[in-house]
Amino acid sequence: VSPAEAAGTGTRRLLAIAPWLAARGGATIEQIASRFGLTPTQAEDAVAIMGFIGVPPYGPGDMLQVDIDTDGLVTVFGPLTFASRPPRLNAREAFAIVAASRAAAVLGGDDNPALASALAKLESTLGSTGRLAVDLDRPELLDDVRAAVRQGLRLRIRYYAAWRDTVTEREIDPVLVHSAAGRWYVDAFDHASGEYRPFRLDRIEAAEPTGERFDRPEQQPDALPFTAAPGAERVVLDLPTSARWVTESYPCEYEELDGRLRVTLTVVGSHWLARLLLRVGPEARVLEPAELADVGRDTARRVLAIYGD
């Protein structure tokens, strides 16, 4: 964080906390910290600075009056115009709250009139009506899996394993549904492997409650990162520069060498790699490991068979 950003953040806090405290009549440091997402120390610092804000000639009647009583209640009153109401949203805040609300509206469907009307008021005030859209995939099973999380229902699922191109059947205890970068995941205890792992929701072909219940974790767990499955292997590819989309679409390391791309990534099994190679085309080469060198060619021959070739 640059000093300018730090000063901006600090000022933003001061200008928002002061009118909030003035309107509310008082709050403890803990309440301020929780309301503004601060640590208690940050809240104390903000309150300390607030007492120094004033206008010329900076006499007692020209300053924001900040008092802390013996119970730790902070009160703010004073004659200053700036403390009478909150300031406008800055561009980042305006963007973020409209984007979040638009996404939440997609998730909630049509059954959230309060959000729809809040969004309408917000967008008309900001002048941003129709300027921002969020396309969020809403998998068919989303509601069922979320209900299972809420109620602690064990599910029997049919799950497509992309790395082996097979569908497996397994029982899971789902604990958290989340979406990142346009993909939905459910984190669950997987009875087949005996561990917690994320499953891609769009790869669950069917989900049925088994009738059993499980104990939900006491604390909301953090989302698990979706990582490659066991047996992951490092491959090095030599690709034409027209395949730059590969470097943007998948986590990898790459460098440009003599007008070609040298891409290193982790893959599980050969199936996913074969699909990638076929999409890139005849100029793609597998440099490492040697035993995967022919996977593109062999797969292309297999696919040609459906054209009677």
Binding site: A6, S34, F82, A96, K121, D135, R275
Partner: protein, 307 residues
């Protein structure tokens, strides 16, 4: 930290001071004399310091105006949040939205709630949207109808931003280039360097412009080639997913064994090939013959390529 605190205090004091003028412009001399933290006289150093503060406040959405006679003013109408009259239910709904959906590594949504009221619900968020640089400035440009200039694909473009759309892992800026009508979609994460913004109210967005329609969902429509109609068979194992991917504009014939035949218009042959070939032997193009030939030629080139 001490330096930060005195700067925060000075910035807040400048805001308090200017608002207290009730809309009367003041000279820089008065500002640097009256607001603590400035040198006290109008020196070059004081001028630089104030310009820097003005820029930081501008980033915070606090526009201090400079008048022709080198005086400065901060209008209440520019500073205060307009009354939104949110009902308690609406306020809760916004809080839930911000708790549910987060921008990657960006607390701005929660900070908006500092000003809009309510307490953000806690707990892990449900959705994380990507947040590449430049989103806020591009959205500001689209709202203000101000041209935006940036580097893209190795050249400098000046565009008229119509809006921003996120789909899957990316944000897209829908905007025609200046002097053109065709609305293009720029991937925001591919913008090179800084974005600069021109004069507000420089152009109009056509009535009825629809951001979603401007960015087709189907990979075979992400191009501008003359449309040709294609028919594609998808195996029973992949049919359900393929039908979802193909979107509502695709015609679907289900076969008795659970396979599906999809019919749609193609304006991007590359897009079609990538989608089709990604399904391996689970998808086969049936018509027209030229697309069948192209697909077979592509596969043959790979099948026969020297290893």
């Amino acid at each position: 930290m001490a330096g930060d605190i005195s700067r925060q205090e000075r910035l807040a004091d400048v805001v308090a001071f200017l608002l207290e003028q009730g809309g009367r412009p003041v000279t820089l001399d008065r500002i640097v004399r009256d607001v603590p933290g400035y040198p006290g006289t109008e020196t070059q150093a004081a001028r630089v310091m104030f310009e820097r503060d003005k820029a930081t406040l501008r980033d915070e959405g606090i526009p201090i105006q400079t008048r022709d006679d080198s005086t400065y003013v901060l209008l209440e109408a520019d500073y205060f949040l307009p009354e939104l009259d949110l009902t308690p239910e609406e306020s809760v709904a916004l809080n839930m939205a911000v708790a549910t959906v987060r921008l990657e590594d960006d607390p701005s949504g929660a900070e908006a709630l500092w000003k809009l009221g309510g307490v953000e619900a806690t707990g892990p968020s449900l959705v994380e949207l990507p947040a590449p640089a430049h989103l806020a400035v591009l959205s500001e440009a689209a709202v203000a109808r101000a041209p935006a200039t940036f580097g893209y694909g190795g050249s400098t473009r000046t565009v008229h931003p119509y809006g921003l759309l996120t789909r899957e892992a990316f944000w897209y800026l829908a905007a025609p280039e200046q002097g053109q009508e065709l609305v293009k979609n720029f991937r925001v994460d591919r913008i090179e360097g800084a974005v600069s913004i021109g004069q507000p109210r420089s152009y109009a967005v056509p009535d009825g412009f629809d951001l979603r329609a401007a960015l087709p969902i189907e990979p075979w429509q992400l191009g501008r080639e003359p449309a040709i109609q294609a028919r594609v068979w998808v195996s029973p194992m992949r049919a359900n997913r393929a039908v979802v991917e193909a979107g509502p504009r695709t015609e679907v014939e289900w076969q008795d064994d659970g396979a599906a035949v999809l019919t749609f218009d193609v304006t991007s042959r590359d897009g079609l090939r990538s989608w089709l070939i990604g399904k391996l032997e689970h998808a086969r193009v049936l018509e027209p013959p030229e697309l069948v030939d192209e697909t077979v030629a592509w596969l043959r080139a790979i099948a026969g390529a020297p290893q």
